[in-house]
Symmetry: C2
Subunit: 390 residues, 2 copies
């Protein structure tokens, strides 16, 4: 067989895949949220190298903007090169050393993920219990500390699976610090949308994802550690079990050296920069207020449709509205109908709440009156089609 | 202090960061390479959800296109949600179990990274030696197998740090399989630019990055495993040490279930799809031929400037041209001059070759006559400024 023939044959086998034409969705699920046009435009910016002096400047700016958004002065504030679970594993996999004990919550999906990550890091895991749909009670946390003396305590500030906001954060961090433990806060669904003050509330480590209240495509995920936490990381006896997420190596790239570790996802960093600029322009506290206000209208509208919120008002999470599926209504049929007929994404429940709730996000650029009106109108139609009357 | 006052104060502290205006570089370094305008356009496409039926279709298409590009029918062919080092660690961290022995090369920067990842996975590491700038000799590989009986053998198909192409791949995989070992090939700088035939050459696991010969922004990185390798992964006694990169969990998302694991970097998957469509349109073998031909012109032009290639012709790597820095020329001054005066990126040597070579990429959309003519003209000027005459 001649070379020319081989080439032709191989080329003939090339898959025929058409132009990229995804549907034009309105994203009101648990993330990703609608991305601001300015951020999409940043994504199409031609690349510079990941060690280019101009990129080093961009890295500095992103770090500064992240600090503002986290409300922290932490030096170790970086985007991790992966999606939210990568920043989560960077936090847990570096802070938890073999032999350490980590206390994790049971009141939602993401406490279970914390457990799995801590175990893989070589840690022991103990739990503080609360039902899915409730926040942690500081009394239970204190009791768990007294019983187990954990080294690290993880909690979920905004539980995406249940739509519950954890109140009393400073109370939780006080308990942990009174017991000489470190606190890791999962801020995936709160950063940039719901009040979180890393320094004032004395959170040692916090991580997030960009595709929630920051309305940025996923791929570079916020992480911040205070000096005390970073000292523990840098003093580890055994290297972290992931090379990719080893913060002592990432320190070389994001710290003063700017030495090569891995190729950063340049475009995702561009996008995060633009998304964070939008946060700074709006002002972080105004942004929190907008989420409360717009999601408040959503909540009122849902209640007007005769629906009940899953979380009591005091734990209501503006960025993720968990609403109960009424008796006799097929939750999946409503979700599919909204997607097919309205190009509108909302989500079902996860884990313990599967089938019981819908999850309606109200995050970042999706937290707009336009989106809220649309989701309420579409949901009213879809419920009526199922025989449910407001 | 009133709430209004607090808000204003916080907002006043917001960092002032201007519009994103990076310089317009021509990227002829070791990656990222210039990104095709169609791929940049794909990056600015509005997002759908990561579990949207339309995204599941896109995932299928990307997998099919990746199989074509890797020349494989492997079912387990996916983009890993991170940059090339993430797909590298996904390969090593899943295949290497505690107690396994991995054989790694010493002839470049990335063998050292393999070693670190294998050790963190709980493996023992043994080495097969060759100087930086040489490929592995099959005789040495055979000898290392006889001496150490490793379970896993990793080699670098295209060494980005030295500009050396590893020939005799089928010979290496035969040796490994005769010793019942698995083969992992680092194809970061070869996939889509230099001949690599995963199935025909009997490579068990191969990984790559998107920002080299695929000319796609980094963030979602190709990985393929054959059934035999995936069986080892799924039969592990101990879970892999990274949750984020656990292939048994990723199987749930990219396999038949399409169940939630983590939020995929949707936009990066869009971009990869477009970059791979360009591969399919050109035809993989034509693309390899283009890289040989355009990089051949680059090599000839460099030699016309009186420069010597670092690798002998038989190991020459078209996608990464390592060229010796002439005596009396300051390598860093040339690099900085090209960047400052020509908006042109080339790179210095790494590790053992630091200061001795320049690395000039010729990858994907950067492998064009236009780019080659530009880099040759600019380099001629820069060398003349240093007193070097062709």
């Amino acid at each position: 067989m001649s070379n020319a023939r081989t080439e032709r044959d191989a080329d003939e086998r090339a898959p025929e895949v058409g132009e990229l034409t995804p549907p034009d969705r309105t994203l009101m699920g648990p993330g990703p949220s609608d991305v601001h046009p300015r951020v999409l435009k940043a994504m199409s910016t031609p690349l510079v190298g990941h060690l280019d002096p101009s990129f080093v400047e961009i890295m500095d700016e992103v770090q500064e903007l992240l600090r503002y958004t986290f409300r922290t002065d932490n030096r170790w504030t970086i985007p991790v090169s992966g999606t939210g679970s990568a920043s989560m594993e960077a936090a847990i996999g570096n802070l938890v050393e073999p032999g350490d004990t980590m206390l994790v919550p049971t009141n939602g999906y993401f406490g279970g993920r914390m457990k799995s990550m801590a175990e893989r890091a070589g840690g022991e895991v103990v739990e503080v219990s609360a039902p899915w749909g409730d926040p942690l009670d500081p009394v239970d946390v204190e009791r768990a500390f007294d019983a187990h003396q954990p080294d690290v305590f993880g909690f979920v500030h905004a539980e995406t699976s249940t739509g519950v906001l954890q109140p009393n954060v400073p109370e939780l961090t006080d308990i942990a610090h009174d017991h000489d433990a470190f606190v890791i806060a999962d801020c995936v669904t709160s950063l940039g949308g719901v009040e979180m003050r890393v320094d004032e509330w004395d959170v040692d480590v916090a991580y997030s994802g960009p595709q929630k209240c920051l309305s940025c495509p996923p791929g570079a995920s916020p992480l911040t550690l205070n000096d005390r936490a970073m000292d523990k990381v840098l003093d580890r006896e055994e290297r972290p079990r992931s090379w990719y997420l080893d913060l002592s190596l990432l320190e070389g790239y994001w710290g003063d050296d700017r030495s090569y570790h891995h190729t950063a996802p340049i475009t995702n960093v561009y996008a995060l920069r633009e998304a964070l600029r939008l946060v700074a322009e709006e002002g972080i506290e105004s942004r929190w207020a907008r989420h409360r206000s717009v999601a408040g209208d959503l909540k009122a509208g849902l209640q007007n449709l005769g629906l009940e919120m899953n979380a009591p008002d005091e734990y209501w999470l503006p960025s993720l509205n968990a609403v109960q599926v009424p008796d006799g209504v097929d939750d999946g049929a409503v979700i599919d109908g909204l997607l097919d007929e309205y190009d509108l994404e909302i989500a079902s429940g996860l884990g313990d709440l599967e089938g019981d709730i819908w999850r309606i996000g109200c995050m970042g650029y999706s937290a707009r009156p336009k989106n809220v009106e649309y989701v309420l109108a579409a949901l009213e139609d879809a419920l009526a089609a199922q025989g449910h009357e407001a």
